[in-house]
């Protein structure tokens, strides 16, 4: 199939105005804020060695924090701050998406700007400074008429570096709810849609290159005192910003925001929910790829309106329970707890996506392992792999305790690669998900949890406080409740993890609706 005929390319292109516009918006804001903070700081610090060392040190430390972590840190920080301002000053703000992304990226942009501004200013020939004083300039005039113009090319080089860093790192703002070109990359990685991954990487690289070259033109113009080049570069930057911002402003604002975490099933379900809302003529948009620590708070604060979570996850992670209750009891308890926060537990979708210890069927038959209890005697010689959070979750401690399991080694893996790893024998056991389509694809079995160490994980639809009593909204979503069984979800997930044209979350969601809607 030629690339042009592959509908994934046209789907990727259809998102471009939104993703690119948001990406440019957040990058430009972050860079502007970064400059606004860094430039005065650099000017103040240039003649103060102690302050200068402290600032550069601090900026260097910020630089060593991985971009993803820095972005993720700002979310709870702002959330706490918003709670404080709400309590004391009577106003609150959204700690989701744009604001934390801008703040974190602005911090990220500071080092090159600070360093180059200080270097540029201290590189001005002392004889020229003396001349500035000698002709009767005040220190202020010397700074604005002589030092800054002379340092400008070096400062510009720093701004250029900062711009490229910010544009690159902005792709990581997707998990905290800021739409960016990273949406392609996160969605593509999760659903094995390599077209999206390539498209996202390529778009971000092209944007960074174009901005870099335009800023280089300005820098070159400043260095050679060519106002034509400087003006051309400036015009280019302005045109780029305008071109990416206009479609975003012109686009009508969607009323309902559907959230999704960072794995395949969530992409499919959010697409399904958005399709149902659109079918009911409610405009909807998807915020996909949200970190699981971010998404619940985003719902509670009304930044998203609906998403699908899992009862056991909320029970253990959000409400920090360590005991495990029967399914119905856990659900009703959750419903009461959530209601206290004005969050509506709207209902179950009908399937469960629980953690399960998974091994290849062939191996299970050979060793006679059919339940987790059977695994206990073999565990000491086996290795286990799980997703990034599994081994720090209470369920893992619960399983180990209930069955007395100790493995030879444990590894963390990208969820999509675990199944292939256990099928190929690279690891012996994985902590997989019961609704994952890859279990069937690789002929694996989920081991029975006879001692109920793993809590139930019913897929449940949560509605934000601001959508309470929204009849139209609830009516659009009601047909989904209790309709998706585990077999259908597994097949949908399997389809979505394929690498072809019919595997986009949208296409799979349409398929799923056809399967469940006609019953």
């Amino acid at each position: 199939m030629s690339p042009s005929a592959d509908p994934r390319w046209s789907e990727a292109f259809s998102h471009l105005p939104d993703y690119l516009g948001s990406h440019v918006r957040v990058s430009v804001s972050a860079l502007a804020l970064g400059l606004l903070i860094s430039l005065p700081l650099a000017i103040v610090a240039r003649n103060r060695p102690v302050l200068r060392t402290a600032l550069l040190g601090l900026a260097s430390i910020v630089q060593t924090v991985p971009g993803l972590a820095l972005l993720a840190l700002f979310y709870p920080l702002l959330l706490a701050l918003a709670a404080v301002t709400a309590a004391w000053l009577g106003f609150s703000f959204s700690a989701f998406g744009f604001l934390p992304a801008v703040l974190a990226l602005a911090l990220y942009s500071m080092l090159p700007v600070l360093r180059n501004t200080i270097t540029g200013l201290s590189g001005v020939d002392p004889a020229v400074l003396e001349a500035a004083q000698g002709v009767g300039m005040t220190p202020q005039q010397s700074l604005t008429m002589v030092e800054l113009p002379l340092a400008l090319p070096v400062m510009m080089a720093g701004i250029r570096t900062a711009a490229v860093w910010v544009i690159g790192t902005a792709t990581l703002s997707t998990p905290i709810g800021q739409t960016s070109l990273g949406n392609y990359i996160f969605a593509g990685l999760q659903t094995q849609n390599w077209v999206f991954v390539l498209f996202g990487c390529f778009a971000a690289a092209v944007l960074a290159l174009v901005v870099d070259q335009l800023l280089a033109l300005i820098e070159n113009g400043l260095r050679n005192r060519s106002s034509i080049r400087t003006a051309l570069g400036g015009l280019g930057i302005a045109a780029l910003i305008a071109a990416t911002l206009v479609p975003a402003i012109a686009r009508p604002h969607a009323r309902y925001v559907v959230g999704a975490k960072t794995f395949t099933e969530q992409y499919v379900l959010s697409a399904l929910i958005a399709q149902r809302l659109q079918a009911a003529e409610l405009s909807a948009t998807i915020r996909a790829g949200l970190g699981s620590n971010v998404i619940f708070d985003a719902l509670a604060s009304g930044d998203i309106d609906v998403y699908v979570d899992y009862s056991g996850t909320l029970w253990a992670n959000q409400f920090h329970h360590t005991d495990i209750r029967p399914r119905a009891e856990l659900l009703s308890e959750l419903k009461t707890t959530l209601a206290k926060q004005n969050i509506t537990l709207f209902g179950e979708l009908g399937f469960e996506n629980a953690y399960a210890l998974v091994i290849p069927r062939k191996r299970a038959d050979e060793l006679g392992i059919h339940s987790v209890a059977d695994l206990a005697s073999h565990a000491a010689t086996m290795s286990i792999a799980g997703d990034y959070e599994f081994f720090s979750r209470p369920e893992w401690a619960g399983i180990q305790k209930a069955y007395g399991l100790t493995f030879r080694a444990q590894r963390q893996m990208q969820p999509d690669f675990m199944y292939a790893a256990v099928a190929s024998g690279e690891v012996d056991v994985i902590a997989g998900y019961t609704s994952d389509g890859l279990i069937a694809k690789y002929d694996l079995v989920a081991l029975a949890d006879d001692r109920h160490a793993i809590p139930p994980y019913d897929a449940i639809v949560l509605l934000s406080p601001k959508r309470r009593d929204d009849e139209a909204f609830e009516a659009a979503l009601r047909p989904l409740l209790g309709r998706i069984d585990i077999a259908e979800m597994r097949e949908a997930n399997l389809r979505a993890s394929g690498n072809d044209a019919s595997s986009s979350p949208d296409a799979v969601a349409r398929w799923l609706w056809e399967k469940i809607g006609i019953r």
Partner: protein
């Protein structure tokens, strides 16, 4: 000599590094209106410090300095500098400003209207013998050393100062350029009625250009006076400084026939 000198140093002292380095030690020196004074000394003699004390690029520790009869410590240093022309060692031009921008800087700081600054720039380019149309919009790096120093002189004169301070202005130039520039400046000094203090380490240059020469050594003023006064000095260091120009003059007199082409 008029009653009030235009620049008057009285028992002035300046030291650096918490008193460890004495740059100027109890110097008293008057510069009369219209006078061209050269201050001669080796490096570390304190001559540059003495010059900078006059427009408060450096603040004196002791003594009193008066410019046009006013105690400089009572004048805003910024305003003081704007009314005294200053020529820097190798031009000290602002590399990002054109010739016109450099020359017009002090008038601009003083808030002159742009048209007036522009006219003044043209006038000064004529004075320092640089072609207006050719040099007005050039940047300093597009000029030769001599041209840069001409622009430096024009900049010092831009705001019509009565006093011009020159810090080794011709030191870095080749001998021919240096000679031409010295002569041209000497003419300007006379025609504009300036009062000039020039720092130099070259006694020959000092003798040829200045009305009076002051000799600095180790922060102290050893001697001052006309060339004739100096040659009568009994000071050993002054004698040593004068020996070179004397010997050069004798040898040149012997080498060059009197009735040459010049």
């Amino acid at each position: 000599m008029p009653a009030t000198p235009l620049i008057a140093y009285a028992h002035v002292g300046k030291s650096f590094d918490d008193g460890r380095v004495v740059a100027v030690d109890d110097v008293s020196l008057d510069v009369a209106e219209g006078e061209f004074l050269a201050v001669v000394g080796g490096s570390g003699s304190g001559k540059t410090t003495l010059l900078r004390l006059a427009n408060r690029l450096i603040e004196a520790d002791r003594g009193r300095i008066a410019v046009e009869g006013e105690d400089v410590s009572r004048i805003d240093p910024i305003l003081l500098r704007r009314r005294i022309g200053y020529v820097f060692q190798s031009g000290g031009l602002f590399p990002h400003l054109t010739v016109a921008g450099n020359i017009g800087i002090t008038p601009k700081l003083l808030g002159w209207p742009p048209a007036e600054i522009s006219a003044r720039v043209d006038e000064l380019l004529d004075l320092v013998r640089l072609d207006r149309s050719q040099y007005r919009d050039r940047l300093p790096h597009e000029l030769s050393g001599g041209q840069r120093q001409r622009v430096g002189v024009a900049r010092a004169l831009a705001a019509k100062p009565r006093i011009v301070l020159m810090d080794e202005p011709f030191g870095a130039l080749d001998p021919l350029t240096r000679d031409a520039l010295g002569d041209d400046y000497r003419t300007l000094h006379r025609e504009l009625g300036l009062t000039t203090v020039m720092i130099t380490h070259d006694m020959t240059e000092a003798l040829l250009l200045a009305d009076r020469v002051a000799v600095m050594h180790g922060g102290r003023l050893l001697a001052q006076g006309t060339p004739a006064d100096l040659s009568a000095s009994t000071d050993a260091y002054v004698g040593e400084l004068l020996r070179t120009p004397r010997r050069q003059a004798e040898r040149l007199g012997a080498l060059l026939p009197r009735d040459g082409a010049a």
